[in-house]
Amino acid sequence: MDIYLQLALSGLFIGGIYALISVGLTLVFGVLRVVNFAHGEYLTIAMFMTYFLFHTAGLDPFLASVIVVPLMFLLGLVTERLLIRPTLDAPHVVQVFVTFALSVFLQNVLLALFTSDFRSVRTAYATAAFQIGPLYVSWLRLAAFLAAIALAVGIALFLKYSYMGSAIRATAQDRRSARLVGINVDRVYAITFALGCALVGAAGVLLSPLFPVNPYTGADMILVAFVIVVLGGMGSIGGAVLAGLMIGVVESFSSYFLGGEMKQFVYFICFMLILAIRPVGFFGRKGAEVMDVT
């Protein structure tokens, strides 16, 4: 029995970070109607930044976030301006391939710069843990989980209560009407995309002390993020959080009982089942999956 609880707990913790990765992806889709296939590479970039800040400046990963997250926001602004905005009205195939090519491009730039060696951030407190009854709880994982959930809640509050948040939600609902009531839709797109990058950047910072990084790390993670986003309902932040936690637990159990190699199978089966049974996910708007870019 204890082992089940322990598995559930570790799955829940990693699921928090999955949720944070997926929140960025689902936010960008909900507003821009663009799936950013390079989302995973932004995670990798953030992890590399954290690694180098840790090893050259001796900066603790949690402190490094103060530098990494704003830089990722900037990177998002630049990407939106150069690649996303010029293709927003282009045929769907162009949008898919621009972000896909960007993903290949970034992956190989990282490969040329840093080779495919794994690099890890080893903090002094990485193995610190405490015990509740039969459960061992890692301080680091608990802190990363709490930070991820806090950020997801923070972004939800931002969307609900700030002026910019309302503008983003209005644009997500109907971009034409949003423009009619005086919302600067281009600015909303830029900020939304940059926010997505900043969120995945924060996820990268939190992942750094837990997982080693190489140029393919993000590509491995992105498949999970897709499953989560579809399960939660495209564009739904609450859905992404719930689905992220669920998939974390599912993964934790499946890799214990079936082995790590079967992980991808389990994702795929989940993915196909969701698509077949309920393509709108938990909280997705009905018709989101068949929605046109208009």
Partner: protein
């Protein structure tokens, strides 16, 4: 005066001329390196034509077609190695497996549009790739399978590499004709109508779901045959070379560069893309890992931003403008 009505001869002389030119290529480029380039561009053209039926005409953008390519390569190779069955038969077994799995996948995912469909095919491709890597007992895992060099027509192995070029060209011609025939048929019009505006198409009473699933399966079977040919040409296959995501991307890319949803686009695109990638390999080499891919993806982004409808139409416009200017 109205322009003369197009006659059969009038519409066919251009493709006939094009294919005559293509048939000369293997004879002109007889050096092993350049002949390899020509052969691979033919295999690429045939594969991309297959992809284009579903991805271009029906607008079902698949990034999992490498899985069907790989199924073709593995089915014929395994049947030959384990049971001694000729690839001439094995290729049809592969095509049948591909068609059935495509139909099953399509039945679940064809309701989805846009990025959702892309993601589902992506996941399918990834799973087939992982299966091939992990089923070491059957597929040899990452170390791959080698086909013994026993040249004979029955083995579909040729001593002279020139033969492969012409077999591949035959496949290109067959797929081109099939594409033209389908595009001119009621099915072709239904697919395009659905791609352009599905609500309007539905309102007109066009029911495309079974047709789209059928075309998806046909496209999978067609690309599966290309996979067999690829295996016979290299006499070696491994999961990374015949079912990687990069392969799926390349097929789509060829069609996009040449002009999506046209019969000649994939052929032009395959020529351009293969030539560029060979040139980059020759000049950039492997000095720094990933350099070729960096240049490649950089070019793709530039092309997409500059000519979203593909280079084929863009070049055509350029030529027309020049002609108009000269007059």
């Amino acid at each position: 005066m109205s322009p003369p009505a197009p006659t059969i001869a009038g519409t066919l002389w251009r493709p006939a001329l094009g294919f005559a030119a293509l048939a000369l290529l293997p004879l002109v480029f007889r050096e092993p390196f350049t002949l390899g380039m020509v052969t691979l561009s033919f295999i690429g053209a045939a594969s991309s034509l297959a992809w284009n039926l579903s991805g271009g005409y029906a607008g079902q953008l698949s990034l999992g077609h490498a899985a069907f390519f790989g199924i073709g390569a593995y089915a014929s190779t395994l049947l030959f190695l384990k049971a001694g069955i000729s690839p001439l038969i094995g290729m049809w077994v592969g095509a049948a497996i591909s068609a059935v799995s495509a139909a099953a996948l399509g039945a679940i995912t064809m309701r989805l549009k846009g990025s959702f469909f892309v993601m589902s095919t992506l996941a399918f491709g990834a799973v087939v790739h992982i299966t091939a890597v992990n089923l070491r007992d059957v597929t040899g895992g990452s170390s791959g399978l080698a086909i013994p060099l026993q040249p004979s027509l029955g083995n579909l192995v040729f001593a002279d590499k020139l033969a492969y070029a012409y077999v591949a060209l035959g496949l290109v011609a067959a797929y081109y004709v099939l594409t033209r025939a389908l595009a001119a048929s009621k099915i072709g019009y239904a697919l395009v109508a659905f791609r352009e505006n599905d609500d309007a198409a539905r309102a007109l009473g066009i029911r495309t779901l079974p047709v789209r699933i059928g075309i998806f399966a046909l496209s999978a079977a067609m690309i599966s045959l290309c996979g067999t040919l690829h295996a016979q040409y290299f006499l070696y296959i491994d999961p990374d070379s015949v079912m990687s995501l990069n392969l799926s991307l390349n097929l789509a890319l060829m069609a996009i560069v040449g002009g999506l949803g046209t019969a000649h686009g994939p052929i032009i695109g395959a020529m351009l893309v293969t030539a560029v990638s060979f040139a980059m390999q020759a000049y950039l080499g492997n000095q720094i890992s990933g350099l070729t891919q960096i240049a490649y993806s950089g070019i793709v982004i530039a092309v997409l931003l500059a000519a979203p409808a593909g280079l084929g139409p863009a070049l055509g416009r350029l030529v027309q403008r020049r002609l108009a200017w000269q007059r």
